[in-house]
Symmetry: C2
Subunit: 192 residues, 2 copies
Amino acid sequence: MDPRVARRQARLDEVLDAAWEIARAEGLAAVSLHEVARRVGLRQPSLYSYFPSKSGLYDAMFAQGYRQLIDHVAAVSPRAADPRRGLVALSRAILGFAVADAARQQLLFHRTIPGFTPSAESYALAQEFLAFVTERLRAAGISERADVDIYTALIGGLGAQQVANDPGGNRWTKQLAAVLAMFFAHVDAKDA
Amino acid sequence: MDPRVARRQARLDEVLDAAWEIARAEGLAAVSLHEVARRVGLRQPSLYSYFPSKSGLYDAMFAQGYRQLIDHVAAVSPRAADPRRGLVALSRAILGFAVADAARQQLLFHRTIPGFTPSAESYALAQEFLAFVTERLRAAGISERADVDIYTALIGGLGAQQVANDPGGNRWTKQLAAVLAMFFAHVDAKDA
DNA sequence: GTCTATACTAAGATAGAC
DNA sequence: GTCTATCTTAGTATAGAC
C-alpha cells in the first residue's frame, strides 16, 4: 500500500481515538475540533483535511463504531450448531459492546446529537448490522417483524438501563439470559 | 396566594415552556439561556433570578417533567380492580408520556446531558415515580427486584426504539400488549 | 497536509444601576 | 426583579502562505 495512504490512515485513527476519548470522559456533545486537534498535536483548521465539518467527524465516529460492532459480533459469536444458543451468545456480545461505552451507545443507537444525521454510507453500515442480526434471528426461528422489533427493544432496553442507572455494574445485563428465555417462550407459544 | 408569588410562578412557567420548546425543536443540548430569554422577552442575565445557573434550568425541567409524569399516570390509571389490567393501563400511560417528547425522554430517563446531574430534591421526584410503579407491580404480584428491573428495561426499551427509529409512529408502542403478556407469562412460570 | 491569522458567532456568568 | 454593560471563554469555519 502507498505509505502516504497508510500514514494518513494512521493519523485519522489517532484523531478518532482522541475524539472517542473526549466523548467517554465529557460526553459526546463536548467533542470539539479544537480539543481533538490539541490532543493529537495539530491545529484545529488542519482537521478540515480529514473531515468536511464537525458533523463529518461524528459521521466518521458513527461509521467506525458500526464497523467495530460488526467485527466484534462476527468474531465473538460465529454461527453455532444450535441457533438459539448462538443467538444468546450474539446477544451477549451486542449487549457487552453497548454497555462498554455509554457515549458510543448514544451515538450508534440513540442518535441524540443535535444536528447530526449519518450519511448514506454510514447508515448502510447500521443496516448491515441489523441484517446480520435479523439473519441470526431467522436461523433461530424468529422471522416476524413484530418479534424482531421486540428483540431489539429487549436488548436496547437492557443496555440503556444499565448505562443510565448502574454504569459499570451488571444489574441489568445479568438479566439477559432470563429475558431471552422469556422471549423464546413467547415466540414458541405462538407456534404451538 | 400572594399575587407576587403567583406572577413569579407564571413567569417561571413561561420560561420553562420556552426551554421545552427549544429542546423539542433543536435538541436538549441546544437550549441556551440567551435563546430562552429571547423567547420570553427578557434579557439573558434576568434568568439568573430564576435559576442559579444553566444547570439549574435543566434541573427545573427535570423536576417539572417528573411532576407531570406522576400527575399523568395517577390521573390516567387509577388503582384498578384487576391489578394486571391496571398495570397494562399504567404501562400504556408511561409509554405514551415517554414517546410524546423525545427531548423529555432523554432528560428524564437517559441523562445524557453533559455536566448535568439532578439535585437531591429533583431526584426524589424520580424516586417517587419509581416507588409508585413498584407498588403497582407488587399489587400485580411482581415484587422481586430482578423482575422489576426487567419491567423497566421492557418499557424503556420500547420507548427508546420508538423515538429513535420511528418517531411519530407506533411500530414499537403497538407491541406493548404482547410484551406485557410475555412478561406476565415469565413471572407466572416461576411461581408454578 | 499543515500552518498562521482571522472572521464570525455565541455561550455562561458577574457587577452595578434603577 | 430587571436592566445595561461587560468579561471571559470557546466554538466552527475560511483564506492564503508554505
